[in-house]
Assembly symmetry: C2
Homo-oligomer: 257 residues x 2
Amino acid sequence: MNVQVIKIGGNIIDNPVELEKFLTDFSKIEGNKFLVHGGGKSATKMAESIGLVPQMIEGRRITDAAMLDVVVMIYAGQINKEIVAKLQSKDNNAIGFSGADGNLIQSTKRNHPTIDYGFVGDVKQVNTTLLKTLLENGIVPVFCAITHDKNGQLLNTNADTIASELAIALSEVFDVTLTYCFEKQGVLQDSEDDSSVITEINEVLYKELKEQKVIHSGMIPKLDNCFNSLSRGVQKIKIAHHSMLQNPDISHTTITL
Amino acid sequence: MNVQVIKIGGNIIDNPVELEKFLTDFSKIEGNKFLVHGGGKSATKMAESIGLVPQMIEGRRITDAAMLDVVVMIYAGQINKEIVAKLQSKDNNAIGFSGADGNLIQSTKRNHPTIDYGFVGDVKQVNTTLLKTLLENGIVPVFCAITHDKNGQLLNTNADTIASELAIALSEVFDVTLTYCFEKQGVLQDSEDDSSVITEINEVLYKELKEQKVIHSGMIPKLDNCFNSLSRGVQKIKIAHHSMLQNPDISHTTITL
């Protein structure tokens, strides 16, 4: 049986018109599907409006207790419930989840030798039994990037990682396609040229593209996640614009081992 | 089969020590159970800290679009997920829900002849089929006071009403006990005397107590809700301190027709 795991990034979340278009495309996908959403800029905006100064190290947010409150509010509250309500209006029986709900995604507070990331969780375990039951009941799970440690502590977790860990866990039971949807059509050979989509990237090409600096900064952890997912059982991974969901002929990037 | 629907008010939510005690008592309840939580003062605090001025008419919040964002964040995000994570740490397999999730509680935007309540929803329909499936899978549903209209709009709904409408809908399938937990032991004959708990209130006594002004202000809609729930099928209703959940001999108020 097939499952699609679709992850959308902050640029879609932050753009109400694009979000609406994405949700329309997503709602038309038949069969088992999951949505994983990132946070966009609203958590940072909210943090600023209540006087917090967000801290980042190497592209990752440092999550102190006050910032954790904000990301839980925005990701699990505002964004997640808005998406769920919109999918319900499109006759998708969505339920929004954090990893704490149903103990679906348990994580461990990150213990880094030199950097204190604060309340950041690395995924430890996905509860596939309950996820399977939910799918059997026609539910469309919508995950935000919040997990928990099973000891009562919520933790902030990277949304790309949530998507890949969900896909890996589900691949024990299903054939899983993982799609990262963003504002471009895929990984570009030339970041200035939207038509320069690289249609397939394998590990050899990935190494070359990194050396040529075609792939750099934020795209590196994203692709590392992809290869990790493929090696751990995910069948297919795509990086694409969401219009590809309903028009598979639109060019996009497929990641292969 | 029995189901307990337990509603906790804002004074428990706002007091971390009481909330922890309540959740410990709640987690020990065996069998099917639901938790419904109100919002406490944190939505008002958050609204103030971002410069919104909350408006109330007759004890009910007027929910404009900005205030709706705040209540969704706080009720469905912060409070709901904190409760879920804590119940998970106490080995209750909690899932947090708004009414939009799984289309569990659908409502209609209130259309009042003279007052524009804003984005406030009156409950129209409860999806008992999915609730039953969740209970069969050992899930402990935790509801915040947010619903939706199935057309993509989230709506703010009174938490007491959510609790009573859930109890009424579930009473078609189960024997339902609805308990309103708050900081007192029950309805008091003398509000200054915590030991003056009225152990049973029926409709005749209710009328008398209202005439004597023993029952007034916020307690009136609460008790109206109770009698409405009893007449629509709920088996048993209690107003109690949460310590009664594990010690049924502690005095409390039972509402009967």
